[in-house]
């Protein structure tokens, strides 16, 4: 019982990071039906900006988060405008391949700019273990910070999408771009804004991953990016609560497999779960049945 709860707590903090990344995938997919494979690299850039803000500029973690959100959004929007926008009218496959190319470009660019070494991520807050229930479970201050920041970001996102003008425009654009533009919505701006939000969430996830694993590396975005993609598909791609559910689920499954079985098997198990769910419910857990839009 103790291991179970301890592992679930572990899973929740890792899962909340996956959920943040998955949200970036799912939002971009929802609006332009593109799997933005460069999203993992946005996360990596966010992590490095976080690192430089703390280690070089001496900022505190919250300022570092803001700065890294800002820089990553800029990169995200640039990628969209330079690489994806010119292809908006061509087939989905061309954009998808461009996204993969963008991902490789940024990975290798990262290796050139940041070097190939693992960089220790500064421990911006003290690692305090809190013992709960008479010391039976331990929660660290890092886990709490990761969880709290993630939840805050998700609430913010729900608010933007559900209750603001731009959020309403995003929903309209995701449903029918042409009709939305005929209602006076600047579709290009809405798409860019979606990348701003996705990239900001990715940047936060990157900094939090730095805190979680305590090192960062130019290729660090690849595996979490892939996992979060799985999480997004698992929950139902294009559906915001689905990405959150998928992220948490994935984190918990990973933690349980590592705790009870072996860390070697955590990745295969995750992918097996994905396959099973897609066989049973191809649209993902919370996915809508995509009926043909006429």
């Amino acid at each position: 019982m103790e291991t179970l709860i301890a592992q679930i707590l572990n899973g929740l903090s890792l899962g909340s990071i996956y959920a943040l990344i998955a949200l970036g995938y799912t939002m971009v997919y929802g609006i332009i039906q593109l799997i933005n494979f460069a999203h993992g690299e946005i996360l990596m850039i966010g992590a490095y900006v976080g690192y430089f803000s703390v280690a070089v500029l001496g900022l505190n973690i919250y300022m570092a988060l803001l700065l890294s959100m800002f820089v990553s959004s800029l990169v995200g929007v640039l990628i969209e405008r330079i690489a994806y926008k010119p292809l908006r009218k061509s087939g989905r496959l061309s954009v998808l391949i461009t996204a993969i190319g963008m991902s490789l470009l940024l990975q290798n660019g990262g290796l050139i700019v940041f070097g190939t070494d693992f960089v220790p991520f500064p421990q911006v807050i003290e690692r305090i273990p809190y013992r709960l229930f008479g010391g039976r479970f331990v929660v660290t201050s890092h886990q709490i910070l990761i969880f709290a920041v993630s939840i805050l970001m998700m609430l913010l996102l729900q608010y933007i999408v559900g209750y603001t003008k731009i959020g309403m425009a995003m929903r309209a654009v995701s449903y029918d771009k042409e009709a939305a533009s005929l209602m006076g919505i600047n579709v290009d701006n809405v798409i860019s804004f979606t990348f701003v939000i996705g990239s900001s969430l990715g940047a936060v996830a990157g900094v939090l991953l730095g805190l979680y694993y305590q090192t960062i590396h130019p290729l660090m975005g690849f595996m979490p990016g892939l996992k979060a993609f799985v999480a997004a598909v698992l929950g139902g791609i294009g559906v915001i609560p689905g990405a959150m559910l998928g992220g948490f689920l994935l984190g918990i499954i990973e933690a349980l497999v590592s705790g009870y079985w072996s860390t070697t098997y955590k990745d295969p198990v995750v992918f097996v779960v994905l396959i099973v769910i897609l066989i049973v419910k191809p649209t993902g857990l919370l996915g809508k049945n995509t009926s043909e839009k006429v």
Binding site: I160, T164, D176, L182, G184, I185, N186
Partner: protein, 255 residues
């Protein structure tokens, strides 16, 4: 109000619209009719910026709007509905209307986050105006329903409400009565009359049903194979041999 001068649209070698001339005066209710595939919807798409014309000028309130992006044209005051209903089906009725307000609401994201005064006043005002529009179209009880759950006739009405939310000067209605029964059509026509007065609108209407267009429009344009073949009052159009030919074929004329 609106003028099209020598407008053409080519799709490859095919001229969907050829030398289109039309003018609409403020406050008019003009009909655009023609057989299937005559290019009526293409004309709407040109006027709203979905397509940009290959040639020609589209003047709206003295300004050439040809080739501008749709959202800019909408914000200048042309709104439309669609032949095949294109509501945001997964959004509620009232949210559909609010999307129509998009170009006219101003508040920063910052204000929205902290529920600033502008945000609250703008939101309440938007809510009130949306409800007011819904009431005119007798949809106020459906405000929280998903648009996709409305019956067909109500979806058609909601599309008009959404277009009105964009505060148009010129409203383009693409077969607003398509698929409605005669009773519903009659009510709709009365509504169109009413909103034209209440909102001081100029309306251009595409319709299939000749009897209906004849009853409501002051002036008609007849489009066939992308060209305007006739223009005039319903009475003139009814007796125009070219129109009869376009609709019924050449033999009908001699029969």
């Amino acid at each position: 109000m609106f003028k099209a001068k020598k407008v053409s649209k080519m799709f490859g070698g095919l001229a969907a619209i050829k030398d289109l001339h039309l003018h609409i005066e403020p406050g008019e209710l003009v009909g655009l009719i023609g057989p299937n595939g005559a290019g009526k919807t293409t004309a709407f798409n040109l006027m709203t910026g979905v397509y940009s014309p290959t040639e020609g000028e589209l003047c709206f309130v003295g300004e050439n709007v040809a080739g501008l992006k749709p959202y800019i044209i909408t914000n200048k005051g042309i709104a439309r509905t669609f032949q095949n209903i294109r509501l945001f089906k997964s959004m509620s009725v009232i949210d559909n209307v609010k999307v129509g307000f998009h170009g006219h609401i101003q508040y920063s994201l910052f204000s929205a986050f902290f529920h600033g005064k502008t945000y609250r006043t703008v939101e309440t005002e938007m809510e009130n105006r949306a409800m007011h529009l819904l009431q005119i179209f007798n949809l106020q009880d459906k405000r929280d329903e998903l648009a996709s759950n409305l019956p067909y006739g109500e979806q058609r009405r909601l599309e008009i409400v959404r277009a009105l939310a964009a505060k148009p000067k010129l409203l383009l209605l693409d077969e607003p009565a398509a698929g409605m029964n005669p009773q519903e059509t009659k009510q709709l026509m009365a509504l169109i009359h009413k909103i034209r007065q209440d909102f001081q609108l100029t309306i251009l209407l595409i319709e299939h049903d000749m009897s209906l267009v004849m009853g409501i429009c002051e002036r008609l344009y007849v489009l066939d194979y992308g060209r305007i073949i006739a223009e005039g009052t319903p009475e003139e159009i009814k007796n125009n041999p070219k129109v009869i030919e376009a609709y019924l074929g050449e033999e009908a004329l001699h029969a």
